[in-house]
Point group: C2
Chain length 330, copies 2
C-alpha cells in the first residue's frame, strides 16, 4: 500500500450502479453512474462494473488494489454472496466470487447501508471515533454501529437494522410486517404516507400539500411535506414534528443501549431537514441517561450521497492493508 | 494459570455484599454473603471483602489469581473507579485501586449487570456464543451485549442500559425521567406500580391483589401480581400481558438492531414467570425481521443469582490469563 493506492467502490441499488475510484485518504477521484438493468441479471451488471473499472484504471494510470461493493440486500458474511436483494430480484448470487474472478481482483461485498456506515466511520463524520451509531433516514431507515472500534455485523450479518426498533407499541404498520417501527413513523415513505392519509381524511387542511403535488394526493412525498412546512403549512409542520419525535425516541434508545460517542444522522430526509440534527441533539439531551448523553455528539453525516461508494472502497483498501485475510466485520 | 486457578468474585449492591470463590470452569466453590453497611462507607466494605477473601483463601488452600467486583453503579472503564453508585451513596471512589492495594491482588471493578452478563456469556446460557444479548428483568431492567466476541462497553462504559430503550412514545414516566422506557412498562417496579394504580382506580377488580397484599395497596409487588395471575385473577393477567407485550417489543428492537445468535432472559421477574421466555420467543418470531430471527435462540439465563459473582470472577481470571494487560471491554 502506498499513497497512490486506490480501490474501486461500487454502490449497487435497484435503479443505478455507481462506481468510484477512491484513494487511501477516502477521496473520490473518479465516479461513474449507470442505470441498473435489473432484468438483465447479475452477469450484465457484473459486465457493466468490469467495463467501468477498466475505464477507470486507464484514466488512473494504475490498477486498483481491489473492489468493494455495497448491495441493497442481505449478504453472507463469510463469502460475500448476496442471499437476497429484493430490488434486484437476486437470490443466492455468489457475487463476490464472480466479480472477483471477472476483475482479477480481491472483491468484498457488503450491505449498502453498512458500506455507507463504513464510509462515514473511516472518512466522514465518524473519523477517529471508536464508538458511533450512524442512522440514515431516507425512503427507509437503516444504519451501522461501531463499538469498541469494531463495525458490528451480528450473528447473520444483519446488525444495524435501526429502522426496525419499535418506538410505538402497536403503532402504524411497517413494511416489515411489524407495527410501530421507527421506519413506520419517521422515514420518507412513512412521512409521505401519513401526509397522504391526512389529506384524504381532511382535504381542507391539506390544501397546500395537494397544491404542491399538483392536486394528486398519491404524489405527496416527504420532500413536498418538507417544502409545505417551510412555507408555514400547519398540517405539514405537525406531520414532521410527529416524525421528529419518533426519531428522537429511537435516538434515545440507541444512545442508552450502545453509549456511542457520536450519533451520525444522514440520508435524504435529514438532508432535506438539516435542522433535525440539532433538534435530535436537544431531544436526546433531555431524555437519554445522564451518563450516556454526557460524552455524546450528535452530528450530520459528512459524505452525503458518496458514503456508499467511499465506504465500500475503504473496506476494500482496509482488507488489502490487512493482507487480504478475511475480516469478520464486513 | 492451572486447572486449580481460582478468582474472587464480588457482587456489591446496596443491601448486601456477596463474595465467591470461582474456578476457571466457572464453578462457584465457596460463597459468603454479608449485609452491606452503606453508612460505614467504602473503607468498611473494603475491610469486609478483605476479611472474606482471607477466610476463603484459607479454606481453598491457595491464593486467588485476582478479584472481580460488580458494583451497582457507573464505573470508569480505565481505572475501575466508581463514578456514582446511588444505592451505596458513593461518588468518585477509586475502589479498584484501593481494593487492589488492600488485597495485594489485581482487581477489576465493573458494573454489576455487566458482571452478570459476563457470567452468562462465559459460563452460563451464552457459552460459546459470540453474539448475544442478555436482558435481566428484575426490579429494574438492564443487560449486556456481546457482539463479534466482544462485550460492548461504549464510549463512557455505560453500554447495555437496555431498560431505557423507548417502547411507547410518551408512555408512562420512568425512574430515569424519560417516558415509555421498557423498564417503565415491564420491570418489577413498573408491574407493581401499575397494579397499585389499577387497584386504587377500581378496588373491586383488584380484590385478589389486595387480599394477597394483606389489604395494603402499597404492598402489592410484582410477585403478588404473578401469584394472582396464576390463581386466575383477570386484572393481574391483563397487567402481566401488557408488561409482556412491552418486553416483546423491546426484544424485537434488540434483535433487529444487534442480530444476536442468542437472546438470554434472566432476573427475578423472569424467574417468577418462566413461561415468558417461550412467549418472548414466539413474539420475536412473529415480529422481528426474517433475516434477524432466523438464527436466533431465545433462552433462560442459567446462573440465576450467581451470575454476578461468577461473572466478576471470570473477568478477573480472563485478565490474569491475558497477562494482566488492560482490557477495554470491562
Amino acid at each position: 500500500m502506498t499513497e497512490a493506492s486506490w480501490a474501486v467502490g461500487v454502490d449497487l441499488g435497484g435503479t443505478k450502479v455507481e462506481v468510484g475510484g477512491v484513494d487511501a485518504r477516502g477521496r473520490l477521484l473518479k465516479r461513474m453512474r449507470r442505470p441498473t438493468e435489473v432484468k438483465s441479471g447479475p452477469a450484465a451488471i457484473e459486465a457493466e462494473i468490469v467495463d467501468a473499472v477498466g475505464e477507470m484504471e486507464e484514466s488512473m494510470g494504475s490498477p486498483p488494489v481491489g473492489a468493494g461493493v455495497g448491495v441493497a440486500g442481505q449478504i453472507e458474511a463469510d463469502t460475500g454472496a448476496v442471499r437476497f436483494a429484493p430490488n434486484l430480484d437476486w437470490h443466492d448470487v455468489p457475487f463476490q466470487a464472480d466479480l472477483s474472478r471477472a476483475l482479477g481482483l480481491p472483491v468484498v461485498v457488503t450491505n449498502d447501508v453498512r458500506a455507507a456506515a463504513w464510509g462515514e466511520w473511516l472518512h466522514g463524520a465518524g473519523r477517529g471515533c471508536d464508538d458511533l451509531v450512524c442512522v440514515f433516514v431516507g425512503t427507509g431507515i437503516g444504519g451501522g454501529i461501531v463499538s469498541g472500534g469494531q463495525m458490528l455485523s451480528g450473528c447473520s450479518n444483519t446488525a444495524g437494522e435501526l429502522g426496525h426498533i419499535t418506538v410505538v407499541l402497536d403503532g402504524p404498520l411497517c413494511h416489515c410486517g411489524n407495527r410501530g417501527c421507527l421506519e413506520a413513523l419517521a422515514s420518507g415513505w412513512a412521512i409521505a404516507q401519513q401526509a397522504q392519509e391526512a389529506v384524504a381524511a381532511k382535504p381542507d387542511g391539506g390544501a397546500m400539500l395537494l397544491k404542491l403535488a399538483d392536486g394528486q394526493q398519491k404524489a405527496i412525498t416527504a420532500e413536498i411535506v418538507a417544502q409545505a412546512a417551510k412555507d408555514g403549512d400547519v398540517l405539514a409542520q405537525r406531520l414532521l414534528d410527529e416524525a421528529l419525535q419518533a426519531l428522537i425516541a429511537g435516538a434515545v434508545s440507541l444512545v442508552n443501549a450502545f453509549n456511542p460517542c457520536r450519533l451520525i444522522l444522514g440520508g435524504g430526509v435529514i438532508e432535506g431537514l438539516p435542522a433535525w440534527v440539532d433538534q435530535v441533539d436537544r431531544g436526546v439531551r433531555q431524555r437519554a441517561l445522564a451518563a450516556a448523553r454526557a460524552p455524546l455528539q450528535v452530528v450530520s453525516a459528512a459524505l452525503h450521497g458518496d458514503a456508499g461508494v467511499v465506504g465500500a472502497a475503504a473496506l476494500s483498501l482496509r482488507r488489502a492493508t490487512e493482507g487480504g485475510r478475511p475480516v469478520a466485520q464486513s
